[in-house]
Symmetry: C2
Subunit: 337 residues, 2 copies
């Protein structure tokens, strides 16, 4: 099935380009992990915070190394004594001019702490601040996820904590064609879901574990920012401590189901909402085949599936129904605030 | 001014009763910190998670000791290798029958890990599971906060990290009369705010730092669970990465301003919303005097101010306007799910 507003050929070419950065990322990580370090910090805000989220969650399954996921806005005001010149600090900003990121990176540099990471090209303000910047020209979510995982899992490999790194990284060459297939499979549902729910005055979303970041990102950075669609996003565990009371046949609830150890929490939400609203929408990463990728790596890839089918595909179809361009903003980055 | 549905005399008596538990809490903490321990874990879910939140946030300003705030629902499914018999584990459930809490405490006990904490009396299922349970008969939010702070700050005192403990704890004898005065000051605004916004189809809330837990609790456990009022709750830093685009004169935004280092983030939201919606509601803990309590302890007490004026007072006045009893639930604890 043809995908609306999507150039499959270009997508696969861009994927290959992103994958080709593997060697550069690995060389950087090998260089910086050869020196002494005692912690890792990922700096993000909004979408980038949400994209680092699963990478940190996954890493914590394999290591006890302190890994801090910092919201760059909060980082600027909070106590930062845990971040020292023994911390490996990474960040990312496609535009390279996200104000909070720039300020947080400048703070680190002023303390003599190098910051590594990604921006779209060498012209951005962030490129000037990063040590050995890596240029992520494609920048869309799964490209970012892949590069962030190269960073984090290579660190773990070098610590002897993720011995499957080479096999995993080799298999990531199949990622983009798998995510294209996931898009094609989801497309008819995307059309249907968007037609049914794009005009709802309020939509609830649940997610958990490795998928919490993407649940947060899709609702906050896509539906709210780009579509002016009102959402409530709550973790699967917390759903049962307040938001459940709002559910009835008027309220759409999207249940985003993952494949990590939090899945039973998602399944509990699924059982509840199927019984208490006619507007239950179940999105399950398990429904999507990852050909050429071992099952043990599915959890790692699960946020990439969600970003492909929701953050990219469903967004396009919401736009088709709301008539609200995904490019339009009235405030965000339009003026100083 | 008389407070609607509020017995001031009983409130002060209950406060004195809660304060009188100080000695029992201190004796427990002194006993358990005399043995070796290497971390602290607070187990909560929904309202109790949110109430432990500021206590953990405050503690982290004074110590590098690992302190884990665990959502009991997630705790049950996630990796728990960081919780050992060297961890001091605390929990709380007024009803004493919160399913996730009971299961999480049973898990700990099965591992030979004692769990300490609070429940309303000796008849609850939780009372049977806790080691040396302490009975918090009053149970409302500020009572819980006070007891949780006695726990956490006494631990820090015993580590030499909060030397002001005795002065702080002595001054807490003034807390309940101060929170009564805060209620009396806020009452006319509570009436006005509820009359104006209780029927809104959607209301946004921002908060940060030590007040994030209470922001989360008021919206999720009070407005959603007890009033079926739809909310969006977002941290002050993240507000600028998505939700801001939704704001215009139709959208009420409640900005909850605290007094810790995150305050500049709240002030940034305040400036934005005052300019972009006529429905900006600013709630600032600074407006409330804490007589007999030193200024350096205001941040510690700030969630108690919010719980007094929003979670208790504003809830009462929402109920007066929605006609939806705060006691009514259609699902929560009504049957198995």
């Amino acid at each position: 099935m043809a995908l609306k507003k999507f150039d499959a050929e270009k997508y696969l070419k861009d994927g290959a380009k992103t994958y080709s950065l593997r060697g550069e990322v690995e060389a950087l990580i090998d260089r910086i992990t050869a020196k002494e370090y005692d912690s890792v910090c990922m700096l993000g805000i909004g979408g980038t915070w949400a994209e680092w989220y699963p990478v940190v969650e996954v890493a914590k399954k394999y290591t006890d190394l302190p890994i801090y996921l910092e919201n760059a806005g909060e980082f600027l005001v909070k106590n930062k004594k845990h971040i020292t010149d023994k911390t490996l600090v990474f960040t990312s900003s496609a535009s390279g001019n996200t104000m909070e990121i720039l300020k947080a990176v400048k703070y680190c540099k002023d303390q003599g702490i190098n910051v590594y990471g990604f921006t779209k090209d060498e012209t951005t303000p962030l490129a000037n601040l990063l040590t050995d910047p890596i240029y992520n020209a494609c920048g869309d979510c799964e490209h970012s996820y892949l590069l962030y995982y190269f960073v984090m899992l290579r660190i773990l490999k070098n610590r002897g904590e993720f011995p499957h790194y080479d096999r995993w990284a080799d298999q990531m060459e199949n990622l983009f064609k798998d995510l294209l297939a996931a898009r094609e499979k989801f497309e008819p549902r995307a059309i249907e879901i968007a037609k049914t729910y794009a005009h709802e005055p309020y939509t609830m979303f649940t997610g958990s574990g490795v998928l919490w970041g993407e649940t947060y990102l899709f609702t906050m950075c896509i539906l709210e920012e780009m579509q002016w669609v009102r959402t409530k996003t709550v973790s699967s565990a917390d759903f049962f401590h307040g938001p459940l009371e709002l559910v009835d046949d008027r309220v759409p609830v999207f249940v985003i189901k993952g494949e990590d150890e939090y899945r039973p929490l998602d399944e509990r939400v699924e059982r509840f909402v199927k019984e208490h609203t006619k507007k239950a929408v179940i999105i399950d990463t398990k429904d999507y085949i990852l050909d050429g990728i071992d099952d043990e790596f599915r959890v790692i890839c699960s946020p990439m599936i969600i970003t492909a089918i929701l953050t990219e595909r469903l967004a396009i179809h919401y736009e088709q129904n709301t008539g609200h361009s995904l490019e339009f903003r009235r405030y965000y980055r339009q003026f100083e605030y």
